[in-house]
Symmetry: C2
Subunit: 431 residues, 2 copies
């Protein structure tokens, strides 16, 4: 008999079917045992009434892998309105021990470090699964939007010869006896590839040797990167980013919908025009509203970002707000200055519910501008990058979204590690 | 005026349009100059007849970024049957130098090391672009097939605490003062995730510190990994792999078709049933046919694989052939033995045109089997992995496809580095 999934049960009322999955829980009442079977699609209820069966199965550990043949009948009390009766249960694989916590509870009763230590089993909990499903759907939506807009996916190296991009916070590698580094971002490579394909994206890991142990930082995370040529300025990039975010939300709604029931997730609307505020204006608004000395600071503080999140929500009913025109002094060397105000830059951050989610902007594209920007540095280390500009490059820009931060913020979890399958940080290298 | 792409010209005959791109080449004849403009979609021909214009543009370097307004007219002699006349050309960005080789030639006149050293410009050549487009389409087809089959994408760490999978050929990392390693594959993680989602895939980089300098090996490459639970045996995995390959070929035909004109590519048919031969039978056939002492060898040699490729082509008109039942002694510790012959394994290789392209098989899934398989090893190093089996795991298996090797073999390029944007090997860390 072909296997049926839990989610397909209600379409099979009246049929005899075969399910397979994990023994999520069994509830033993006086006359009946309800056995909950979990598979990749959801949870099905199996009703055991035969006393011999009930006794035989009573000792099965949670997470036993089983298959169950039975008749599908409607029952308003059962999950999804159907259950399996007259079942025949066979054990496919027995666990060696009971799980270290109960996966059947709405929230696992364990601290985050314990959950992370036991990822192989804690990830089976529907709420933790849901975050991974949201991540997968988000990556898929990102690619869908960019494929539609003529972008092409690229795969660039994660091992680089020199720590040229930010200079600090890199992980050294022993590469056949030479020193190399883990890439902090695909920034240089995606710019090079604009010279080849105009519009490129990459979904891949990046590595930051952040010596800080915070709830917002991972030492390895997934970066959703895009870069595009033939732009007028950063506003063209922001329009593409808006469409990307919208497609990410749509993909979550379309493909991860069953997962959403297990978590407290409030999917945002992405407005057709995301409210946009200039850095200086933002500082003026914040200082006028809060009285906090803000004007002239070189960057926005976390309270500033939260204020802007509130402002966007109140004034524009938007969970998103763009801040443009950050001081050029605070942006990377490849950032394009604002042609009307060289102290400012053609850059932006996107705040989502008061937290920085995306950084982007227009880049320099003229070879001479790079020579100026890199004055005093060893240009040999930048050779492969500079070639892209030496041989003709259009005006271009792009952005990077941190996938785990997006998922964490969406789902309202306070620690980004919860939105990661196997987090890597200052202390954690396993599992 | 909105920008028009080169590939859209023929749909715009009779219109005045604006193109933008790179000056691919200009051919100066007595009375006319043909200017070829390259953009992300292809190449357009622009006809200059005004003597002042011709003179003004004559000195432009190849790869100058330009925009051109002009009238689209039909001309059977022009590429795609249309060209731009009465043009107005504006320079958007001037290169600082002429490219180190001529991108306009059907084949760039330079050796591979030179092309790789100058990747930022050599990748702009239509034939090199085509290989990257085939790679992107292949990855997309891989995901499409697996999404359709209920798989979910996962993102697993590329930095691991111990070199437990193969033991050798790993790159050490300095991780905040501790020793860590680059992951050789997502094998352990994708198995763990079978316990969570049953069916998972990952598209990501893997790292092999191969001290060999061959045309087939990269130290960093892209692995297309899949793993699935609730299988009967490895033949279930092989059926999914067959559908994946078919979707990869379809995706190339659908999305990379314009690219294919620039290279000599012969897209294979993926048969509904890929011919399958048992390892022992294969050795008997090879020895009987070639007279070469083959029977009893622990593995197939490259000439053996070529022979099988020929055999599949001649006997089954197939570019693909599965070899099953490799000796268990030659497969990794997590491989499921053949229940009818414990010296053999429930594993397979897929040969494509006589070369190993995919390795896969059924894995052990019982905790005790892992304890046996890992006897004598420090189990603490495997703790996070073993938990997946301790807490109930169904029979499962999977496979891994090396993307660059697939693209190289498809396009008939002899060195896998040609199928990589920025290859990493024993000697090469830049660009």
């Amino acid at each position: 008999m072909e296997r049926t999934l839990a989610a397909e049960l209600s379409a099979n009322a009246g049929q005899r079917v075969r399910l397979a999955g994990w023994l999520h829980h069994q509830r033993q009442l006086a006359q009946v045992t309800f056995l909950l079977l979990r598979d990749r699609s959801g949870i099905a209820q199996v009703v055991l009434t035969d006393p011999a069966d009930r006794e035989a199965l009573a000792e099965l550990l949670a997470e036993t892998v089983v298959e169950v043949e039975g008749n599908v009948v409607a029952n308003d009390q059962a999950p999804a309105g159907v259950e399996l009766v007259d079942p025949k249960v066979a054990v496919l694989a027995e666990p060696a021990a009971a799980p270290p916590f109960e996966l059947r509870r709405p929230k696992v009763n364990a601290q985050l470090p314990t959950l992370l230590d036991h990822a192989a089993v804690s990830l089976r909990h529907p709420a933790r699964r849901a975050l991974a499903q949201i991540g997968a759907a988000s990556a898929s939506g990102f690619r869908t939007a960019l494929d539609r807009a003529g972008f092409i996916e690229v795969f660039t190296p994660k091992v680089v010869a020199a720590a040229t991009e930010n200079g600090a916070n890199v992980f050294p590698i022993d590469w056949f006896g030479r020193r190399a580094y883990l890439a902090q971002s695909p920034q240089f490579y995606k710019q090079i590839m604009v010279g080849v394909f105009e519009r490129v994206y990459e979904v891949g890991p990046v590595f930051r040797a952040e010596p800080h142990d915070t709830v917002r930082h991972l030492a390895e995370y997934l970066s959703l990167d895009a870069e595009m040529g033939f732009i007028h300025d950063h506003h063209d990039v922001m329009r593409v980013l808006r469409d990307v975010l919208s497609a990410m939300v749509d993909a979550i709604a379309d493909t991860a919908e069953p997962a959403l029931r297990h978590i407290d997730l409030d999917l945002p609307e992405v407005p057709a025009h995301i409210p946009t505020v200039d850095f200086d204006s933002a500082q003026h608004m914040i200082e006028a509203s809060t009285g906090r000395a803000t004007i002239g600071e070189p960057d926005l503080s976390p309270p500033d970002e939260r204020w802007l999140g509130e402002w966007a929500h109140t004034e524009h009913e938007s969970d998103f707000v763009f801040v443009t025109g950050y001081p050029i002094s605070k942006r990377p060397f490849y950032t394009q200055p604002d042609p009307t105000n060289p102290a400012a830059s053609n850059s932006f951050d996107l705040l989502f519910r008061g937290l920085e989610l995306v950084t982007g902007g227009q880049r320099l594209h003229r070879y001479e501008d790079y020579l100026d920007a890199l004055q005093g540095q060893d240009l040999d280390l930048f050779e492969g990058y500079l070639e892209a500009f030496r041989y003709g490059m259009p005006a271009h820009g792009g952005f990077a979204i941190g996938l785990e931060r997006w998922v964490a913020r969406l789902a309202g979890v306070s620690n980004v590690r919860e939105a990661t399958l196997f987090p890597r940080d200052l202390h954690r290298l396993t599992p």
